[in-house]
Amino acid sequence: MPSHFLLAWRLLLRDWHAGELKILLVALLIAVASMTSIGLFTQRIERAMTDQSGQFLGADLLLQSPLEIDADILNKAKRSGLSLTSAISFSSVIVANDEFQLTHIKAVDQNYPLLSQIKISKTAYGEERPVSYGPAAGEVWLAPRLFGLLSLSLNDFIELGEAKLKVTAVLKHDPGQASSFMVIAPRLLMNIQDIADTGIIQPGSRVTYQTGFAGQLKDRQDFEKWLRPRLSSSQKLSGGTEGSAAVNSAMEKAEQYLSLASMLSVMLSGIAIAMTANRYAQRHFDQSALMRCMGASQKTVMQIFSMQLFILGLAGSLLGCILGYLAQQGLLLILKDFLAPGLPSAGIYPLLTGFVSGFITLIGFSLPALLRLNAVPPLRVLRKDIMPMPLSSVLIYALAIGSIILLMWWQSGQLLLTLLVMLGVFISVAILFVMSFVLLFFSRLAASLLSGPWKTGLLQIIRQRKENQLQMLAFGLSLMILMTIFLLRTDLISRWQAQLPEKSPNHFVINIQADEVRAVEQFFNQHQLQSEGLYPMVRGRITEINGLDVMQAVPEKNQRDEALKRELNLSWAMQIQKNNKLLSGQWWQADDSGKAIISIEKGLARRLQVSIGDSLTFQVADQRISAKIQNIRSVQWDSFQPNFYVIFPEAVIEKFPVSYISSFYLEASQKKILNQLIARFPTLTVLEIDAIMLQVKKIMDQVSTAVEYVMLFVLMAGMIVLIASMQSSMDERLRAAAIMRTLGATTAFLRRSQLTEFSLLGLFSGLLAISGTEIVAYLLYSKVFDLEFELHGTLWLAGPLLSVLLILLISRLYMNKVTRQTPLKSLSY
């Protein structure tokens, strides 16, 4: 065996200059590099997302509980090497200058916050200063609003229970306030040591105990695994990939796009590998026969060729992994602002996956060709017409398709996307195949009307129908994939840009009282604030579904849903909101006003397992109200506008306590207006999300760049297929051209007939490609990416044109040989 290994190695080296092997290796290289880099990259992104959610929570993991957290849990966390911070939060009234105000209080220890920073300032909307500690004992930090409400200044004292505490800073941002939409009361941050002095917390007080954990990924994963099953139903563990909805939604699509790009580049590389392997095998039939003739057993021949395959796989996979790693570093460079420095590395797994995938691709796509090589009868040395028995085509396709599905699924972890892509490709191939018949039929008609080199070129296509059809398929398919990935990229990026247009709202105002609505609107107009309008908001809790207690009506896995645990913001409107889309049912008419009907968001409807006609009962203040679901809507959560799970028509819930919410855009330089707003309407709460928005926008820009970068892989893979498919038919074409030259065809005649032939081939492939592109794009847009689908007019022109140019360009590289070389040389080859 080792001696054959050397022979295989030597034969491989000798074959190297013949060319196919280079294409095969490059194809493999691209497949492995794209799989590896995208694999590495998505893992890192996922880790970055987890890290980012840590920034929102102030810790990697946050455990919340109505009772004090067991010492067992804390000890286990310490033993696991995690750092801890404990906090207590509750609502209470504080007193200052004889005024009372309900406040959301959070008492923190000296470790708070574990991650990220608290932002404080000296004046309500003044310059922020990040700090990594909470207030000292005896001190409190207050939300800007409290200064107005209680007529306070820095260094004044407030009373909380029995304690007197000194105000030492304005609290601008607390990392633990991710869910701050829910907390209407203004915030107060204090030291946990002062809690006892206040005497507020008594047995039975409504208090939330929080413990934040931070540490190494592995440690916290182990801890989380240990902790989850021990949690009681009233305890809640946060962490994982929570964070900004907009970032998550963009990243999710980007990840899907990356998976898709990776799948397609693997598929394209696979096609290129199959084509080159096939040509390699055909060109080695003689070698196989000769070796058998010289006494090599079938086993030896098989060993030699499979060792060559192994060597190629090894080289391609190794180099591909290295290239993939480097490419991933480049990708990280593009996203460096988004990814936290010192990010844990992606680990060896994606590299291993890429390496193994290299072999799977190579074997899946080239083994059938090599098996044929093995079956060449030795008699071929005497009679050239003897060909090895063709392998069962079922075997060939099953092997190739099986390995590609396996790979795509394994790589992306997305079965739906994998199956859709395969389905799209199958449908396209079938359509392309039928269309190629139609095109050839018309060519035949056209040929009867032409003469000279044009006719010869056209006839060339018709006579070699089978080969040309195959080539059109390969060419059309790769162009189709290239165009799809290009379209998708363009539409995704423009959608991301449209999602956060310039001047999207970056501030929310909540807690506007009904009698303040007009005044607030006037204030907005006066200061030319671009508001999204004021929306009414009534707080209510879902208690029953179709008259059944909600906890019994909802499946167990959804019983912990946030929407069931807390009060929802209910709203009313006669028109559907701008960023909402009606999915099923009817929106109400003017005469529906006052009817007990609702519109529900699709995610909530799914989680509650309710649909149109079902009835929900809400507990609002001390009353109950039931309403039937009239329609289901989708909501663009990442639009940064007020969005609601449940909307009523007018005149149903107006009777309940209502407050209004609005959002508007404010330039950084206009921040002072906020002071005026608060001074004028002291009970309002302003949520500043401009910093988050800026970050989101930056991330989206970077993700767009990453998406373009990854498209390069697909482009390269596509080019390789084009070259491989051209090369596979070149021997035949060169021979035909040489014979025509021998028979007296001039260079000009040959050039013109080739021009006709290749232009038509390009045109046909281009037409096939664009038709396929629209089909696949339609499937992907509607089923996976949730994008609006439209036909792409310009591409119907650009696609075929591009295809013609590409084919002419590649064919020039080869066909020049015919006109440069003597016919004898072309024929003797």
């Binding site: 058998r292 079938q298 030795p378």
Partner: protein
């Protein structure tokens, strides 16, 4: 089914030279393929160096070919991707012979191609290519050499040179030589000449 060969009864002795002539399509190459164990007869027996080819499986016949048989073909059958030297080394390499390069260089020198070791078949003339093929055939010191129209693709002068070379090397190596040809001049150089007609072998 078409009977290509019917009553063929032939014994070839060690170190004998024998030629088989016949018109195109008379079945000469089929007979050669059978004799060399490249194909199997539908009936009858073929013994090669004491081995019944019908009793051996494909790999058994391959092993026998590797050990005892050499070939020269009308179309040379050199591998286009390999140089002259590499082509000659190939059969030795298949047996894992460590002295492949030395022996191949020696043989190529013997056929007068010392200057052409690193040329590819495409860069060689037809005569030169056939000389490489002859070197390749003798490099394994075969017991029996089968030549299928060895001069079929060559001009008269070159043919003469190739024939001379083939017979010289045959004598030097004491090899049994079986030539299939329609070149009467070549056929007459052999110790025994047979004609294949309508599937039957006659003495010519």
């Amino acid at each position: 089914m078409l009977d290509i060969l019917t009553a063929v009864n032939l014994e070839i002795k060690s170190a004998e030279t024998i030629s088989i002539i016949g018109a195109s399509g008379s079945g000469k190459s089929t007979l050669l393929g059978l004799l060399a164990g490249l194909d199997q007869p539908s009936s009858g027996t073929i013994m090669l160096a004491g081995n019944d080819l019908g009793q051996l499986d494909e790999d058994g016949r391959a092993a026998l070919r590797g050990a005892k048989v050499g070939f020269v073909f009308q179309s040379f059958q050199l591998l286009p991707g390999l140089t002259a030297l590499e082509n000659v080394m190939l059969p030795l390499e298949l047996r894992s012979d460590s002295g492949a390069a030395t022996e191949a260089v020696e043989l190529l020198a013997r056929v007068g191609l010392s200057e052409r070791l690193h040329h590819y078949p495409q860069q060689l003339s037809g005569g030169e290519q056939q000389r490489v093929a002859i070197a390749r055939a003798f490099v394994t010191r075969p017991m029996i050499l089968f030549a299928d129209e060895p001069t079929g693709n060559l001009d008269t002068v070159t043919s003469q040179y190739i024939i001379d070379l083939l017979f010289e090397m045959n004598q030097e190596n004491n090899t049994t030589l079986v030539i299939v040809t329609h070149d009467e001049a070549l056929a007459k150089r052999c110790g025994r000449c047979l004609r294949l007609e309508n599937g039957i072998l006659h003495h010519a």
